[in-house]
Symmetry: C2
Subunit: 194 residues, 2 copies
């Protein structure tokens, strides 16, 4: 293992950043909880921002992996999977450690659009959207990307309403709205390919 300490640092930072935010989490807290020496951190990362970027990359990988697995375990057909997205959201929201979307939170703290941390957050959202596009394409609708965009809005809205407004029912409401939007798109027949 070339970088066991590096992994420890990222995992610990992931916890702390999610719990307490980025600016509010000092390097010292991370070192203490990870049980790692100061210079070990700075041998692996040039700066705190680099550590933040590394945690975002790990979070993106873990989250999307978990998310897609959960959706695909729940349902087999593309249409059912698009709805399973919101059941999976429900699971996420129900987790005691749920602390909102790390990428929305990161964008809040690093607001400059060209900040690497903000850009990494944007990239995560693009990748999630891409997944919805795949599912939407698979159900053979006339405008799959449009449908995916709309379902994405419901997903992000649910995250916000659950986290900020403390509404635990946001996911199921998003689900029923998604049903209506999907139905609406299915009525517009796809043209016969020639």
């Amino acid at each position: 293992m070339a970088s066991g300490k590096r992994d420890q640092l990222i995992d610990t930072a992931l916890d702390l950043f999610c719990q307490n935010g980025f600016h509010a989490t000092g390097i010292d807290k991370i070192l203490e909880k990870a049980g790692v020496a100061r210079m070990t951190l700075y041998n692996h990362f040039k700066s705190k921002d680099e550590l933040i970027l590394a945690t975002l990359r790990r979070r993106d990988e873990k989250f999307r992996n978990w998310f897609m697995r959960s959706v695909e375990r729940r349902a087999a057909s593309p249409q059912e999977r698009l709805l399973a997205v919101y059941d999976t959201l429900q699971d996420w929201f129900s987790d005691a450690a749920f602390s909102g979307c790390m990428f929305i939170n990161a964008s809040a703290e690093f607001g400059a659009p060209d900040d690497p941390i903000h850009l990494a957050s944007a990239e995560h959202k693009v990748l999630v959207l891409k997944y919805l596009r795949e599912l939407a394409t698979a159900i053979g609708v006339r405008h799959p990307d449009e449908l995916a965009d709309e379902l994405m809005l419901l997903m992000e809205g649910a995250i916000v309403m659950c986290y900020v407004a403390g509404d635990p029912g946001a996911a199921s409401r998003a689900r029923s709205a998604a049903e209506k939007l999907i139905r609406s798109h299915l009525k517009i027949e796809a043209p016969i390919a020639d």
Copy 2:
């Protein structure tokens, strides 16, 4: 004017908190930009958190006022107004100083659900939702609260996708999704009152 300095402090803090975040904005920066002495701040506010709460209250008041005025100026019928919500969002997003939703950002930095700052953010979202409920009720739909919840998800989703993912088209996509959801609700006739 009993509190000209107090107002200056709140307005300045509002700018800086939106631009740079809460933790990243030091008291000294606010004092310098506001041109106000240190003790003047602490005579008006017990702590930085109290100042943050005051800025959130002002932001809530200014934003909702602007928002509702804009919606009502744009359209007269409740149904058109529900769609004008998303045109108003578009205006907001197009502002060069757009820096996301201050309340979403505040919740990101003050994540504890019982934190007064988080609670104030939740309250803002509830008040916006209430406004959507009024509009939804006025169009005589069978389940107005349900429709309002769904439109709220689209609104919050648009804010996130525009700010985090940098998608300037989020508002118009939300608008077309809203059309579909409203149409879907209008098909379920309201019962005749007796």
